[in-house]
């Protein structure tokens, strides 16, 4: 039983991850998907960091006062992963901006008919602006 309590942080993090994954799959708005992806990824980061924790340890910065340090490796990996995450986000956002300009919408539901293989070829970013759903809201 004590062991199960010791696993609780992991389970909480798994809950968070799955909420993120749910948003990615279930939400139709492209930006919302990206945000869900962010939540998914950050939760994975938490899992990594949780793995590196050592009871009674301190942050892995050497000092004569301390003898027990938490594992530095997960921190390093996650530093990398955070940057990868923001890079993906930036490219994803740029893509959704272009999609909004080319199709007039970023809702998956509205995009489906416009992107079907049978839809005639439209070139260029501003070729079609017939779907103006939500156009007014674009000016904050």
């Amino acid at each position: 039983m004590k062991d199960l309590v010791g696993l609780f942080p992991y389970w909480a993090v798994i809950m968070l991850m799955m909420t993120g994954l749910y948003i990615v799959i279930a939400q139709g708005n492209l930006v919302k998907k990206l945000i869900g992806l962010g939540i998914f990824q950050v939760s994975v980061f938490v899992l990594y960091i949780a793995v590196g924790v050592v009871d009674g340890g301190t942050p892995p910065i050497l000092d004569d006062e301390f003898a027990v340090y938490s594992n530095p490796l997960p921190s390093v990996l996650i530093l990398t992963a955070i940057v990868v995450g923001v890079a993906t986000l930036a490219v994803g956002l740029a893509l959704s901006v272009r999609i909004r300009e080319a199709f007039g919408t970023i809702e998956e539901e509205d995009l489906l008919p416009l992107t079907a293989p049978t839809h005639p070829v439209v070139t260029g970013p501003e070729a079609e602006t017939d779907t103006n759903a939500g156009r007014e809201e674009t000016r904050p």
């Binding site: 696993l7 609780f8 992991y10 749910y22 948003i23 139709g28 590196g52 930036a90 490219v91 901006v97």
Partner: protein, 324 residues
Amino acid sequence: MESLLMIGLLAALGAIAITVAFMSDLLVVAMLSGIFSFTCCALFVLFDAPDVAFTEACVGAGVSTVLTIAAIRLVGRHEKRGGRRASVVGLVVATVCGLALVYGTLELPRFGDPASPASTHVAPHYIEESKGEIGIPNIVTSVLGSYRGYDTMGETVVVFTAALGVLILLGGAQSRPLGRGEAPARRDRDVILRTVATLFIPMTLFLAPYVQFHGAYSPGGGFQAGAILGGALILYGLVFGIDALNKMVPERILRVIAALGVLLYGGTGVVTMLMGHAFLDYYAFGAGPSGQAIGLTAIELGVFMTVTCVMTLLFQRFAIRGVM
């Protein structure tokens, strides 16, 4: 006490995540995801990972949120609800994955176990030997810059690739420059904002080099410093207008420095190679910690250059684009 704090933070995170799923105002969602990141930062501090917390605060909570909001300005703020089928699929997939993960955790070492394989195999080498081999107290910096310096180079390239991608997608011939006066900053109002910013930006300018060079002793390093300086420049652009930012740091300069950062990092490796050592073996610059210090300084500078410029560049690209 710490456990309680942890439980509280995790609960807050859960609440935020679920709220995100059900909100349809993207601006609110973006802010919530920023808050989510910040809360995670607190958790990272609690989990003895201040470096990660630092980076997440700068990059995850800061730059990401700004970029998201900048994009929302261009794509529209309100989401359309619907898609019942997708939510069922999502629920099923998420549940299956979640249960699989829970099953997998059942045999994991418990949280904080000092005898777990992760804490006893490779990590002890870093903790015990890095003082002698690298010569700096911050083990995370040692691992990041030297032991796994190649990963970090890859990471710098990832950042550069993102900039390249955004430049291709939102730049060049396809860009639609914003007309004058359309800039998001509104000079007539926001007196408080401008005043605060005027005070704040110089402070961050001081903070960045500190974080950069003190990274060996305390949390920090090239990524964090770059993100801070980039953040300062973004703040400048937000408050004083994108034109002012462009005037201060033209895009071409940013592009060149971003590329130079990558080249500085990789070049360090090439130099060590030319000196007859392995790629990124800083001992080429001198035996013991002195050689490592030279190498680490060089690559941290490279990271700093690339991250600063790319962060600014990314914001610039989104901000400069006119709304359809």
